[in-house]
Amino acid sequence: MPALGADMEAGTLVEWLVKPGDRVNSGDVIAVVETQKGAIEVEVFQTGVLSDILVPVGERVPVGTVLAQIDGAERATPAPAAEPVITPPPIVAPRKTPPLRAVVAPRVGRLKVTPAARRRAAALNVDIATIVTGSGVEGSIRLADVESAGAAPVRAAAKRGLDLSQMRKAIAAAMSRSKREIPHYYLTETVDLSAASTWIERFNVDKPPVERILPAVLFLKAAALALREQLRLNGAYENDAFVPSSNIHVGWAISLRGGGLIAPAIRDADKKSLAELMGAMRDLVERARRGNLRSSELTSPTVTVTNVGDRGAESVTGIIYPPQVSIVGFGRVVARPWVVDGRIESRPLVTVTLAADHRATDGHIGGLYLAAVARLLQEPEKL
């Protein structure tokens, strides 16, 4: 049973997606577990043949319990959760067939699917991966393609859902631990977004809606790139020591309707293009709200970024998610007076905040980090 959060102690196995004798490959989703954060798909990071299932459906077991055995197991690729952050998922067993999510979300550069098509696929329980050719631009899969494929539904996915009272308990535990154990310090920087706003308008103007990006994408990329300059803000504090991460996996905070919050990882956010980040955000938001996140997405973040959006507050000062050592917040973009070359002008501004662990860094490092974010947002074309 993988540890899927700072204070997760146990989980309930609600579905096996493999059976003994199945061959499994690294990265396969093999089971679904119910946690305080909802139903999470459990992946394996080994290749072999599943020989035995040790935990039956319906059983609640502690974190660390072996769920299944894999014969001939060998680590084909590094586990996505192998960074020094959270306890990596223990041995489990995978499966050869694709995940049983009803929808395979679009991935930039591979499968292009319109949001409406994805939602219709979810409603019709159609596996988009089975649609060979879409009728849209460059073979993208459109609503009509999904409806045509509706006659070939896949096996129903496990019943998923979020128990918001349980999620509230999980948030309470993690945030209480954070406030109890982590000596936070807080820094704020106001950033002129004129260049970024103009650049986004030009970027989006000739594009169809599905290819447009949101300002949040620039925030995410700038926050990730700036971490390359201040490595001590990216990693985990465990066993009385800071352990840096060589990868920048941003936990993107997503609010859930009806309450609740979850921050699954956008892996290697510093290396992704803006279009890829937009696709990743769209995918994560949809799956987080549907209850289709994967275990590695919850265990691998090395930092958290939160953006309150255009209906949020003007600034947000976050609480670090243990064992991470920093959280970056972007407030609502507002038009305010701003001094430019000795004159007062109206400018779009955003308040960027950093909450960081004083055991890992001092304010000087944090200040340099925020300065880097501000600098990067002045040259959006380079993000």
């Binding site: 319109t114 949001p115 409406a116 098509a117 939602r119 219709r120 409603a123 459109r142 609503l143 308008e201 989006n204 103007v205 169809p208 809606p209 599905v210 447009r212 949101l214 300002p215 949040a216 609010s255 309707r257 009806g258 955000m281 769209r282 938001v285 959006g309 255009d310 209906r311």
Partner: protein, 82 residues
């Protein structure tokens, strides 16, 4: 399309984006974002869905004309007719 058809389509698409939304409570002058708790990603997906269903490519500068049902119906009626 008739205004009633456009209204029904708008609510259908919002229902796909925000399944828990109480669509029956929708009033023509309400801000859809406030009424149904749509964030900027939700609204972007709404515009994508309109493009997909109606073939209408709505520029970003016109997004504010979709914020209420009343204005959205007016806008989309004209856009579809063009």
């Amino acid at each position: 399309m008739t205004d009633a058809e456009i209204r029904a389509l708008i609510l259908e698409l919002i229902g796909e984006i925000a399944p828990e939304a109480d669509l029956a409570s929708a009033r023509d002058q309400d801000d859809l974002r406030e009424a149904f708790d749509l964030d900027s990603m939700d609204f972007a997906n709404f515009v994508v869905a309109l493009h997909d269903r109606l073939g209408v490519n709505i520029p970003e500068v016109h997004y504010n004309r979709l914020f209420t049902l009343e204005r959205a119906i007016d806008y989309l009626r004209d856009a579809v007719a063009q």
